[in-house]
Symmetry: C2
Subunit: 119 residues, 2 copies
């Protein structure tokens, strides 16, 4: 199995090296394997998880929730709970998309109104 240096992991995942360390400290990443000299060696599994983390962060999941999800992932028996968590998050994402669209509609009405005033 291939491993990745911190710089490579940052490159692939799209997070900065500092952010990767921060996530590890926060318990969002399980402790990353180390080389004999103590340098981190990220695995494909780590990068796969980081890919999901990116998706969840981009959709506004807070760090604290991500941490809870990561803790659940340590126990195989929590699969259903994890799916439930993702589905709950999906609902919240849908709500924020809807809210955004509603406000965008109001914004466009405002612009149209300006246009009518002869701008």
């Amino acid at each position: 199995m291939a491993t990745y240096s911190p710089a490579q992991a940052a490159e692939v995942s799209g997070f900065s090296i500092d952010t990767l360390r921060y996530y590890e400290r926060e318990g969002i990443l399980r402790p990353i394997a180390r080389t004999s000299s103590g340098h981190r060696a990220y695995t494909d599994a780590d990068l796969g998880w980081l890919d999901l983390v990116h998706c969840l962060r981009d959709t506004g999941m807070p760090i604290a929730d991500l941490k809870r999800y990561a803790e659940l992932s340590l126990d195989e028996a929590t699969l259903a709970a994890r799916v439930a968590l993702l589905e709950e998050h999906d609902r919240r994402v849908q709500e924020s998309i809807d809210a955004l669209r509603r406000q965008q509609e109001r914004l466009r009405e405002k612009i149209a109104w300006y246009r009518e005033q002869g701008v």
Copy 2:
């Protein structure tokens, strides 16, 4: 013209009293009229502006941009610039909606994958 106490303005606008004062300090609200005793008296025009502010904040416009917009509003001759600013913002809102939808799609694929694994 009706006026509104800080508490009423907060009630109507949906911002807290502290936030209203903060916005005034930041120059997002022009200086609010005062009663003889120095208490703020918000006008209908102030509340109308706050309504737009709420829309812009809800769609993610930063405080700094809002301030620029407010400064433009002081000069009648900047109507076109203001509309341009709103349209630019509308584009950014559209982009974030699109990004959110793309990530939501990935999230749903992940959930579907879990489901296939027999959750």
